[in-house]
């Protein structure tokens, strides 16, 4: 966990320092999920995104990542062009973690680190206690280990905005605390976190509730 401090420092030149949602509404399959979602998230802040099942938390995170179109409203990243911000300044960790079952944890983490512009994976793997698991195939990992592998991307390739979809759910008590500490480091280093959660989010200073 000590290594995490070093990692978040390398965030260095931050690309974006603000996430602004103005009057956002999303429609999926003809049904209006929510409307008028407002948020002004600044560097060093975390926001807990709450709402009942099916209320559109995942859709909102995907909209911020540019994958889902908004019905109304807009999403801004401060001065930075949205396409550039999405390409270089945010991470998305969702239920579908993008990890291939037949490849080893090392291959997958190395690839995603390079794809996101990061470098060596050693520190990130150590911070999430994955070092001894790196040579296993992803299919052999438990749900919690697999989630830690997905989260290790966040550290291997530092980017300021983390979009997390129920990041803590498969983790055990020890790792809920452990990942809380990693999130705190990220915020100290000027990062931002928007996380869909059902339980309280450690270190959250803001909250956004969307109606079901």
């Amino acid at each position: 966990m000590r290594r995490a401090a070093k990692l978040s420092k390398s965030l260095g030149e931050r690309l974006i320092t603000q996430l602004l949602l103005k009057g956002c509404a999303i429609r999926r399959g003809g049904r209006l999920l929510f409307e008028n979602a407002e948020l002004d998230l600044r560097a060093g802040e975390a926001c807990a995104l709450t709402g009942p099942n099916g209320s559109g938390k995942t859709s909102l995170l995907r909209a911020v990542a540019g994958l889902v179109r908004l019905e109304a409203g807009e999403i801004g990243f401060g001065e930075v062009d949205p396409a550039e911000a999405r390409g270089e300044a945010l991470h998305l960790v969702g239920h579908a973690d993008g990890l291939k079952a037949a490849r080893t944890a090392r291959e997958e983490l190395t690839f995603w680190s390079r794809w996101c512009g990061g470098g060596d994976i050693g520190d990130a793997a150590a911070a999430l206690d994955l070092t001894t698991l790196l040579d296993l195939e992803v299919r052999r990992l438990s749900a919690g280990q697999r989630r830690r592998l997905a989260l290790a991307r966040l550290l291997a390739a530092p980017r300021p905005l983390w979009l997390l979809d129920e990041p803590l759910s498969p983790l055990d008590a020890r790792w809920r605390e452990g990942f809380g500490a990693l999130m705190a480091r990220h915020l100290e280093g000027g990062g931002m976190i928007l996380a869909a959660v059902h339980d309280p989010l450690p270190g959250a200073t803001k909250s956004l509730e969307i109606a079901g």
């Binding site: 995907r62 990542a65 540019g66 994958l67 889902v68 179109r69 550039e84 999405r86 390409g87 270089e88 945010l90 991470h91 998305l92 969702g94 239920h95 579908a96 973690d97 993008g98 990890l99 291939k100 037949a102 490849r103 291959e107 190395t110 690839f111 995603w112 390079r114 794809w115 996101c116 512009g117």
Partner: protein
């Protein structure tokens, strides 16, 4: 640049393992090439006449095999979401996925094509042209096939849909390539057919990634 080489390495490795990879494709290819003489009759004269064309059609069918998983697996496990979160445009990502597909299945099939044609009785001097046509045609198959694979994302029985979308797009390369081989075998000018095959492959490489990226964006949103 390092991220693109990393993607190419990953895509080639995944395509190599997908649906059994090149071994299954080559095995399927050999199977089709073996079935033909059984159906048509073993007279060497008749087989020799159809050998180049038969090798070529079997190649188009074998290229279809692992195509359906080109985008589908990444779509299902969320990797396609993450691939969009990069400075590399999605068009370039799709281009590299198709190159990986071609390296893992198109190139091994191109090696098998002259062997299959000669087993059917084609003349040995035809082998280099068959190899060149199969190599070039494989590019056209991979890039037009990618369009079908991307368009059928999210559909049930996507593999079947991919085949239905893609087979019409396979018609021009089959005509041009088969025509060039036929012309060469009967001592006629064959360069125009080969050039048209190259032109079609170039068009597929230029237009395919645009269509694939648009189809992927549509499937993700």
């Amino acid at each position: 640049m390092s991220r693109l080489t990393a993607l190419l390495a990953r895509e080639t490795a995944l395509a190599w393992g997908r649906g059994g990879g090149p071994l299954v494709a080559v095995g399927f290819y050999a199977g089709v090439a073996t079935l033909l003489p059984l159906a048509i009759g073993p007279e060497p004269e008749r087989l020799r006449a159809i050998a180049p064309g038969a090798a070529w059609v079997a190649l188009a069918l074998a290229s279809l095999l692992s195509l359906e998983r080109l985008f589908e697996r990444d779509y299902e496990d969320g990797a396609l979401d993450l691939l969009t979160l990069s400075p590399a445009p999605l068009e370039l990502t799709c281009f590299i996925k198709c190159v990986g597909q071609w390296l893992a299945t198109g190139a091994p099939l191109a090696l098998a094509a002259p062997v299959a044609a000669m087993a059917l009785g084609a003349k040995a001097e035809l082998a280099p042209l068959i190899f060149a046509c199969a190599l070039l045609g494989g590019i056209a198959f991979a890039f037009t096939g990618g369009i079908g694979a991307a368009l059928s994302l999210g559909a049930r029985r996507g593999g079947l849909l991919t085949a239905v979308i893609v087979l019409p797009l396979f018609v021009p390369p089959v005509i041009f390539g088969g025509g060039a081989l036929d012309a060469f075998a009967s001592g006629l000018p064959w360069r125009s057919g080969f050039a048209l095959l190259g032109a079609y492959a170039a068009m597929a490489v230029a237009i395919g990634p645009l269509a694939m990226a648009a189809a992927c964006r549509n499937a993700l949103s």
